[in-house]
Symmetry: D2
Subunit: 354 residues, 4 copies
């Protein structure tokens, strides 16, 4: 109940602090006989890794994953898969300066109120570093979903006021902001560079499209597919909003505009539009899933801010260290991972119904 286990049939337990010896995950419920090697996981981790480009934090974490169990002769056995990532580039001293300060926008204050104690080094458990274990676990789900012909693609939709105008999936991994519109990508990168020079940071929107999702996923009432996706995605620290299909803009449509008309195509039931984002009544309808998340601007900025210390005195703070001026490009693989874990879980649950 302490919040570190995700999923129902497929259950992911994660652990680890930013500056402890290691982070990792146990993934329980992966069906046997899935081909799996460390390189399958490493590939995804490398997409999330710090230091991968000029616009991400220059921290050096190799994020080298080790599989400790659940795989025998390069196949899953049905038993829990444990993944271990040793921490490396911990400059804990940098953080002792902020030991007694509550960084605005961070969880320093709330952790202390919750637990009465906190591991202040690099944000401890509240560090975005925990998302590496999501990506590692999600890589297994992605591998499994490949075999089911489900493909998840996330990308940066907007940075601050700049929004993607075209969507070419092939472009996503060709630019460091992971934007499917190369022209807008350049503008975004320039804006981020500028913010970094100011010691400031920028927010953005990440969008994901899932193709090949079979109809029938998600459960009525509380465990609707949209609800589970919202839960999965909003649990990523930086995310403060989730939309399915039209989301908020759909509230300005009429029912006659918003309802997606059914029609027949190649003997399959389809919808002419996809305002619903592929989910009707909480259950997937076979159309692509469309999901959008709001990433707040990273809280770690080097501009001077006013705050309070643990002695309850007002003071000033400058968060030094090596931070991301815009988290979108590194959130992309995390979003994909959380969607993958959610969908795999839903597909396994659906097997119990038929």
């Amino acid at each position: 109940m302490a919040g570190n286990i995700f999923g129902r049939i497929l259950r992911v337990s994660t652990f680890g602090e930013s500056h402890g010896p290691a982070i990792g995950a146990i993934i329980d419920g992966v069906p046997p006989n899935l081909a799996l090697e460390e390189s399958d996981i490493q590939r995804e981790l490398d997409r999330r890794r710090p230091g991968q480009s000029a616009i991400t934090t220059p921290r050096k974490e190799e994020d080298k994953v080790e599989i400790l169990s659940g795989v025998f002769e390069k196949k899953t056995t049905g038993t829990p898969i444990a993944l271990l990532i040793r921490n490396q580039d911990q400059k804990s001293k940098e953080y002792s300066a902020i030991k007694d300060l509550f960084r605005p926008g961070h969880a320093d204050y709330t952790f202390l109120k919750k637990y009465g104690i906190r591991d202040y080094r690099g944000g401890g458990r509240a560090s975005g570093r925990e998302t590496a274990t999501r990506v590692a676990a999600g890589a297994i789900a992605k591998k499994w979903l490949e075999g089911e012909n489900v493909t998840i693609r996330a990308y940066t939709k907007s940075v601050h006021t700049i929004t993607t105008e075209t969507i070419d999936f092939d472009e996503i991994e060709r630019n460091v902001i992971r934007c499917p519109d190369p022209k807008k990508a350049s503008e975004m990168i320039a804006l981020i560079e500028e913010a970094r020079k100011e010691g400031d940071s920028l927010g953005g929107v990440v969008e994901a499209v899932v193709s090949g999702c079979p109809p029938g996923l998600g459960d009525p009432v509380f465990d609707k597919l949209d609800a589970y996706l919202a839960y999965a995605l909003m649990s990523i620290g930086t995310i403060k909003g989730v939309e399915i299909g039209d989301g908020f803009s759909g509230t300005r449509l009429k029912g006659s505009q918003s309802n997606d008309a059914f029609f027949m195509e190649n003997e399959k039931i389809r919808t002419r539009t996809n305002h619903a984002g592929g989910i009707l009544g909480g259950i997937s309808n076979g159309e692509p899933l469309l999901v959008r998340v709001a990433c707040k601007p990273p809280s770690s900025i080097s501009k001077t801010q006013t705050t309070v210390n643990t002695e309850q005195r007002e003071t000033e703070i400058r968060v030094e260290g090596r931070h991301d001026p815009c988290i979108c490009p590194r959130v992309v693989p995390v979003v994909e991972a959380m969607i993958a874990l959610t969908l795999m879980d839903c597909m396994l649950i659906q097997r119990t119904i038929k």
Copy 2:
């Protein structure tokens, strides 16, 4: 795992189809010695009930609740509280016309794909009628939260293109759209009347403010308070988007604008702004919680639509019956109920930490 149980310590199991004999809920985990009577629950059900005003469905459901267990001499005993609501105004015949058609925007098609069978009468389990059991369960949570000085207030923030400009909590229950701005309320009502005459429907945004929420609620990583709220709210059938604090508009801020500066007020640590919506790192910080949800326009409209039937032939449909042209005023108590259940659950979990 079939999606009809909500919560972790406080667990709500619901049942019931729109046109079956009854709907109801079991609420397990309510602490003993809470004063509770049927009237506490009835009051909330009456706010959600159909037929309450000119702009809601004219269906006549008394929604009379009976407490079957868990209460002895007007106090909870710690054992499960079962609530029963008999269905009354079921005009099932109206629905036999659509027995073989998939209504656009509804779950008819997806239920059939999921289960291979469906109770087509009035939407069956997929009917918005199930939200009555959420409101009934939520009424108990609200009663309990009152004793903890937590107050939840939801209201219609916008209908279609009309948005509230002022917020006066006292106005909310004074108009049938439950808008805190009486001037805008009138405009909204007029627009809804117009849509109804056209046989169409309108979407809108509902916002909620929670005051008195103590710091420390929510768990790091997967069970962040924002994640649990998003899950709880997105599970309401009509909702397709959830925002915490600034949500999507916050993506157009810089970190220096978005971070809420801490300061001291009356020896308490507070923040000068509340962009974070009262949640930092997934844990409540003691500021008011701010949540916003996107309600799509109701799918039941009497305008002619194109669709497909169960024989996979294209055809036309007009959804007759008695429907809501805008669901916002009736979603307001449902949103409050889901927030109440979430917060009560989190407060009980927090007791295990200290």
Copy 3:
């Protein structure tokens, strides 16, 4: 977490006090398209009902079940099945005499210590009456298991010092003690009659044999099939011991005697003996499951006992009322129900693996 929900994929939530208006259950996760009528459930309830013979309590409870949801045109739809049983023969006045006393062997004292309040009428939630909802839910599981060719048969193995010597399944329902050995049945019944005249009660052992259980059920480590059965059965109020296969007597064997040798029979792998009770390493091996439970003598006896009252004064008590002198014959259907719920749950989980 308050203990009133059983199961993982198949989840049963129950409610109800002995002397409240009703008891009931919600069963979530039953696959769609199972033929189901009230009579399927009533048949099992009648086997558990009070007043069914001279050696059970003469209380008159019709235990008439009503299906409130989840069944449409005599088939399950995949949505939650709610079952309601109204209470009838409540002589609550009988209990006001013991309102301030702690009955030895009962949960009066422990409920008060746990909750600080108790519904003293007839034991409230702690009454054996709650097992009616287990039997009702279990009847659905039994119906489903029939379709999978799994048969569960429980019977009274011993009463006090008298033990069954022969096992003829056809005899079980022919005598009121539900003993598969007609000769021993008569002796058991005579002994029970004697105990009742003394105002005393007798314990006994109930045994169950499951045939047709497929190999592969149960999960390694914590959720072994034996562990889940032990949990399911020990949760029945009267049960204080559970054995799988040889159980305690197996501790007096050597490994060379206890290991069941594998051999081939009709191209199937079988074991020559079944000391393991059909479960190896927590997973069913295809042999019959063998389970035994210890039922303590019922705590309600009319003999005078010494006890303490709620004022903490020592005093005497005679538990008047209409009680069972030996609970075994009425526990038999409860044991079958709990095994059925456990196995159905395990079979649904096993579907997620293949």
Copy 4:
């Protein structure tokens, strides 16, 4: 749902195969500010370790534990505690001989039927080696329970036909069979030596007494304290029976003998006898908890046995390797660990009620 997570508020996820790189556990839900060091855990692991005496397996596993997270400056922080134990003495070659054989009494056959694949090296996940992670996790629970004045003591009650006659807790750790009766301990050890020479193995009974358990633990209906203990203990691979209090012998008592009379002692309500083993109606009553488990004779014996191979041919097998002729002394710390995890979980849950 794959069976590798134990508990409700306190949740333990374990992983690891006998001959993989490592085994370990994540313990989520430990309250913050508990003093904890690796030595607290190592002490318990050393009690379970192979090679600790002449009557246990001579395998050499140092079982050195490393804390990877959740502890900061020697105190728990409330975040998940990950424990890692690297495997060392893996003689995997020994097992390639039995790669294609199903060892009688082992899970080789059932794992293959369940998963269609198995890691045959040393039993893989089905190896008793997984209990090291239970002991490690349980050590944390024991440390926490110490602070609540709860003490758990388990010991060997019987080996084969030899049963303890006196109980002196101080004797338990003074002999290698962990028997509280030094005279019987010597007899047990002699009998085990004899069995080992024959290439055979012996079963036994382990008993546990918990003192200081507060009243109010356990939940009515499904999650009774006895049910949770039975689940926890029966999940240990070697255990095939569980009794609470009198257990099976109590079925030969009358109600008037079995009911524990309440009386007053030092202004506390107590019972004069403890047939109920400290649990009434599934809830602890403040008396010592009494639990007994049946350990089957270890399945690994070097005597020749008949069996079947993976090609479904009948054949013979001799299980070479380094095995325990009687598992009781090494099960003692595992039983204590599982009881500790169960009680700590129940105590945390009880906090949500008051």
